[in-house]
Symmetry: C2
Subunit: 253 residues, 2 copies
Amino acid sequence: MLTNNKIKLIKSLDKKRERIEAGCFVVEGEKMVRELLMSRFETTEVFAVQQYIDELPANLKLKAEITAIGERDLERISFLKTPNKAVALAKLPEIRPLPDLSGLNIALDNVQDPGNLGTIIRTAAWFGIGNVFCSPDTADVYNPKVIQSTMGAIFKVNVCYCNLAELAATARKAGIPMFGTRLDGENLYAAKLPKDAIVVMGNESKGLSAEISVLMDSNLKIPSYAPPSADMESLNVAVATAIVCAEFRRQNS
Amino acid sequence: MLTNNKIKLIKSLDKKRERIEAGCFVVEGEKMVRELLMSRFETTEVFAVQQYIDELPANLKLKAEITAIGERDLERISFLKTPNKAVALAKLPEIRPLPDLSGLNIALDNVQDPGNLGTIIRTAAWFGIGNVFCSPDTADVYNPKVIQSTMGAIFKVNVCYCNLAELAATARKAGIPMFGTRLDGENLYAAKLPKDAIVVMGNESKGLSAEISVLMDSNLKIPSYAPPSADMESLNVAVATAIVCAEFRRQNS
């Protein structure tokens, strides 16, 4: 039921602290809530307009407690400018041991912008990348803004918060090389890129932290074609991630 | 001088209508204002803290009327959360005939998100792309948010608002092919990409408009590596632009 306390809870879930305390996060919108119900995440409750509920396949209706609400209540619990038919609460996944690292993986070292994180997860889904590892100081993927900006990709990619130094140790044991990106790295297009790898991207303004940088097996550079000038150009971190992942896939397909 | 009227004018320049009426736009921040003064744009006025003015090279000081202001006035005219030393007014460039189309160009058909536009211009600067053509309904690059999100790239790339059908006619006469992106296009990595080209990207949710789509000489597809599923994945438009431009550069360098 949509009690006042429930409304207050939902609206508090834009804060990480509150999400951790409640153990859940918010997913919104017609398509996103349907994808949530089909995903590996556990949906606890869905609040939706009657028409949406009527149109849900029967097997998805069984997956959570579903409450019909009116447009006005929908507005009260929505984080969107234009609320869209359904809002769901899903359980935060439990912290699990590091997954299998074979294939292509991404690791993010202190990526701060929620939009960048969402775009990177969307790119990971496109390229069939299994895991996106995030350092604990990276933006929180369960922030309602990030969830929405992944456009459903969050349900297809395994996002895992972990200590990147520990990830590096595990990768080394498994023989999976880690690739950083640096302006003095090897030309991305001249490098022989392996099938199994972890591509590590750094903070928007500072790049990779010193502690993580020393753990890289190699560093890659996306060549610039800008005319030489005193000012250093730079690429957005989500754009750089995409260009590097595209080249890994091109060389190994 | 920073009169109350001037403050009112500056604060109104987040609206396109007001920018066109005043014929100017706002550039903010230590580095950005310095790059503006070095660029082809005409700077009309700079408002900055005294220390910033003292540190400006003499030749740049001659380029505009410069007024020293205090931190409080800076806050009053800034669009940034943390105002940064200088705010400048620059003249909107005049509408000019279409430039030379040789080399690699980007055209945007109704790209709406200011952040995406800024990121695309930043990517264009990195790849040494001369021109970014924008349909009249694309987001306005002179919006303060877009200007800031280009991180100075706006001063290095020629951004030109024009009718894309007219651009296509000019390109055809000049023998420069236009490449759209479509899910049923030719695999980007199997295509032979020419040195001279216009890469055309469409709206965030609708893609290329029907009128523009028919004018393409070829269509490219960025291959997806996602496991087959009922839901279509998609890439952010700035990410897709970057992947396509990177491949044009790789094949022609």
